[in-house]
Amino acid sequence: MQVRTRRTLRASAALLAGAAGAATVGGLASASPKAASSGHITLTYWNGFTGPDGPTVKALVSQFNKTHPNITINMSIMPWDTFYTKLLPALASGSGPDFVAMDTQQLPQYANKGVFVSLNSYFQKSPNTAVLAPGAVSATKVNGTQYGVAVNYAPLMMYWNKTLFANAHIAAPPKNWPQWMADAVKLSHGGKSPQYGIALADNNTVPMWPILLWENGGGIVNSSISKGMLSSAQSVSAVQQWSNLIIKNGIAPKNISGADADSLFQAQKAAMEINGPWATTGYTQAKVNYGLAPVPSGPARTLTLTDVTSMSINAKDSPAKIAAAETFFNYWNSKATQITYAVKTGFVPTRTDVTATELKANPDVALFEAAGHDAVPYQLGSQFTNIDTDTWTPAIEKILDGASVKSTLATANQQINTYLASK
């Protein structure tokens, strides 16, 4: 009897311990009811503007709350990874926010689940949508339906460290690939305190590698997002050239994240970095003597990536709430708001009718605005996580770790085609 009890106890102790992992999954999936609101409209707004642009966003939202006595926006700013972890469970349980801001790369996976309202009719009636930057409009469209309204528009540029360039006796930033590669080699050295020509991040980052593929005529997927392009000769050659320079010439550290790349550039250990306008504030504060240049032209074309963040409305919102959120969208993309936002943060206005004189308080904005002319968003459709995070990123990581470029990309391409066929 005693032996049996002890054994049962032991078994249940082990079961309990093992259950913890399984329990987490089940617990988070359970639902909770949602409280209804009435009268004065209060909207909850979730986003991840934790960066230097956060204070400006807060100021603009509180200004909206002051000028619109019938609407109150309760904004929750959280780190993006927390945001993406919380959002879908919250929406599924009915306790999700009334509207959100998220990267348009992620938008299709959510829109396809039917969690957001179609904004087609809003785009027909809004006073702003006709003047919104075309790239900002196309990036917020999923299968022909408008699901988002742009919050910000951020073409990437090449940051270059003027001091390190001068030390290496290079007068100007590179204009094309041969110059870019030669400069990167010249700016790199090993030793006790190594320096890198470029900080090229491949994971948890604003996409940098896809630009290299595009400029060589390749890509990760084709323009209609129906087939992988990683095994094309152009993609393979782009990866071969740059990974060779990294492995053999040490022009960049291997397999770093976006945050690592930023800290390398900020610590003046890397001479170049491809990044968006949000980085200007941090680098200025760190007293990095940097310049901004367009991403050097590739053999096939000159193209950079534009990062678009957009706002979407919860499909469970009442018509009154939807209307209130749309009032906020009108305010956000109004000329006055966009000028304040652009000048204070360095982001390019989402509108095309803001003039250079209106933006002269922040000279960087004009540079990013010009870079936006040769910029496209990074779109992989509803299979974004599967293709980017789970296939493409590990492939490039393996290659930088010494795996064969051709066969690794071929395998990844096959995987991507499987994902695209399964949607």
């Binding site: 992992g21 399984a22 879908l88 770093i256």
Partner: protein, 307 residues
């Protein structure tokens, strides 16, 4: 004989009633814990079990699909790769931290060792710090060229690879942090265990002419086996469920080289939104933990001795 009869007549009815009441009281005392366990452990556990039989993905309803998730698991190379990673992590972290903890406990259990308290506190300290916080600190220290570890090693001429960004070195780096974090806690448990061993046994062994090594093998190890069992079981369970420091340090990368089963559960459930599939993986992990724990308990309970 007569006395015994009398006793049973007097005691038996009373004892049944009392026993029932006492059982009830015991359950009442247990109720708060049972309620907490029920809500936060058993309900989610049962629900996860149900989810693993469906294709639930937050939206679009969920359909019962039987054992399809489990069948898909068998053919999923990600699952096997992460199972190998999990066993690699647990297979190194558990024995190394248990042996290291025992060695440190033996060393720091000696009376008269100068600075004993300080050393004990220093080694125990990592156990108090949140795993996520220490993982962030280690991430910084391992960062190439500006990290403290890589920098000082480079200063003395050792050019280590970028640990966390290398497919072959990321796992050893994560393992190192796992051991560093746990060893202090296990050491404290071992010290407590060592202090329960009666001194007389060592004295007797000494008089019998046993060397220090013999005393360790024949007195310390057998009398410590209950403690060793406890430490090994919790250490193995903890390392099979490793998640926080891996998530913070590498997020399972580069190229999935540090992705363990729990990281896979997280990725499938909360990044790819395949809740049903994630639950199935969690259940397989639970079975694995259960089997290994039972095996350990059997192994150690045969070796328990009392003098």
């Amino acid at each position: 004989m007569a006395r015994q009869k009398l006793r049973s007549r007097l005691w038996y009815p009373w004892s049944t009633r009392m026993r029932r009441r006492r059982t009830l009281t015991a359950y009442l005392f247990m109720l708060p814990s049972l309620a907490v366990l029920g809500v936060f452990m058993f309900y989610p556990l049962i629900r996860a079990g149900w989810l693993s039989l469906t294709n639930y993905s937050f939206f679009g309803g969920s359909r019962f699909i039987g054992l399809l998730n489990y069948r898909n698991l068998i053919h999923d190379p990600q699952f096997w790769r992460d199972l190998v990673n999990t066993l690699y992590y647990a297979g190194v972290v558990t024995p190394v931290s248990v042996i290291l903890a025992l060695a440190l406990a033996l060393l720091l259990n000696r009376k008269g060792l100068p600075g004993r308290g300080i050393f004990r506190a220093a080694i125990f300290l990592p156990a108090v710090v949140s795993f996520a916080v220490s993982a962030i600190a280690f991430r910084f220290m391992f960062t190439p060229s500006i990290g403290f570890i890589t920098y000082w090693l480079a200063q003395i001429g050792i050019n280590v690879p970028d640990w966390l960004d290398s497919v072959s070195f990321a796992m050893p780096a994560v393992i190192l942090v796992g051991i560093w974090k746990n060893v202090g806690f296990y050491m404290v448990i071992f010290i407590a265990g060592l202090q329960t061993i009666p001194k007389e046994l060592y004295e007797a062994a000494s008089i019998d002419g046993a060397t220090r090594w013999r005393r360790f093998v024949n007195v310390t190890i057998p009398l410590l086996s209950n403690t060793t069992m406890f430490v090994t079981v919790i250490s193995l369970i903890a390392s099979l469920q490793a998640f926080d420091q891996i998530y913070v340090m590498t997020q399972g990368g580069p190229a999935f080289s540090t992705e363990t089963l729990v990281t896979l559960v997280y990725r499938q459930g909360f990044q790819n939104f395949q809740m049903g599939y994630a639950s199935a993986i969690a259940y397989v992990l639970m079975a694995l933990v259960l089997i290994l724990s039972l095996f350990q308990l059997r192994f150690f309970s045969r070796r328990t001795v009392k003098y």
